[in-house]
């Protein structure tokens, strides 16, 4: 009987320790703000933008001033991002988006269409998993080619941008 009680208490202790470890991750302070997650666990800010929407015939173009982001990653960098969310991870997953912008005449542009009053453009595939207690860790499924990118959620106006440089640049 006593052995059982001890085993139960030890099991509880391990569960509690595991939970404490999971919670010890340094999470973003702000909701829906994306950060680069360094291998040390430190969070680094991305370039924060609210793109302008320009209508060209049947298309909508999101435009960001500046042809290149000031936040740069090398082509071989392991790209991990973190974002704090308020909803369940499963719900949050569906809102995560990564867009590739084209640098053009001093701006970055992304073409899309308005579907049911919401901007729609093809997002690059992302893996989203739990990070800490209230955040998500995001990684692009495929290695990103050199270029300009912004992370966002389909329900916020902000984009969190960065560039990937070719190896050797």
């Amino acid at each position: 009987m006593n052995a059982r009680r001890i085993a139960f208490a030890v099991a509880l202790l391990f569960v509690s320790m595991g939970s404490a470890q999971e919670d010890s991750a340094v999470e973003p302070e702000y909701f829906s703000v994306f950060y680069y997650l360094e291998s040390s666990g430190q969070l680094t800010e991305l370039e924060r933008q609210i793109p302008a929407e320009v209508f060209r015939s049947s298309k909508v173009v999101f435009v960001i001033q500046g042809e290149k982001s000031k936040v740069r990653f090398k082509g071989d960098a392991k790209l991990l991002f973190a974002v704090r969310v308020t909803e369940d991870l499963d719900k949050a997953k569906a809102t995560m988006q990564l867009f590739r912008f084209e640098g053009r005449n001093g701006t970055r542009e992304l073409e899309g269409k308005i579907k049911q009053k919401v901007f729609a453009a093809p997002s690059l595939a992302l893996n989203t998993e739990r990070y800490g207690r209230s955040s998500a860790k995001i990684t692009p499924v495929k290695k990103l080619m050199p270029g300009e990118y912004c992370l966002t959620r389909n329900n916020i106006p902000q984009g969190f941008c960065f560039g990937v440089d070719a190896l050797g640049n």
Partner: protein
Amino acid sequence: MMKFASSITSLILILISVSAAWGEDQVKLSESELLSTIYYLKSSAQLVRLESQLVLLKRKYKALGFKGGTTVFLAKGEKSPVRIPAETQPQFVIRTKDTTDPAADIHLYRLTELNGSRVTPLNQFNGIGRVTSVALPSAIMDFNSTSYGTSSVKLVPTQPLVAGEYCFVIRLPNEWPDKNPGFCFGIDAAGD
């Protein structure tokens, strides 16, 4: 032996309780009782309720609509009765449901005085009603949102707010109906 086992069990249970309590926020912050109502958080931690009104989504036509027009948010009155002194980082507080994401559901706009109202342009449309441009980046003010107290969220603009009229507008998911709950205030220039 039985006493020893019992002591170990008790010790472990105490350790678990202490570790669970460790992360709990011990600081009690002033929170509002009302859900979805936005307050200005003074430096003294006192909450000041913002001017509450329904912000209207209106279309203003040029040449009876033949030349299109502008969609605006319109708040009644030229100036908000709630005045906030100019400061680098004014802070606001709202009690929300757990799953509300202020970044998605609340927008902060700067409005200008026009014919006894406050307005901010949202988009331009042509003679057949199709949107031709969106004024979002100039109209919308970016802010950060973070947990505050046990059930509230603190909203902090990312840039200092210059003197003028502002409204937080709360929207339904992915939709802007004709009337939207708004919480307005004015920033007075330093020295006013």
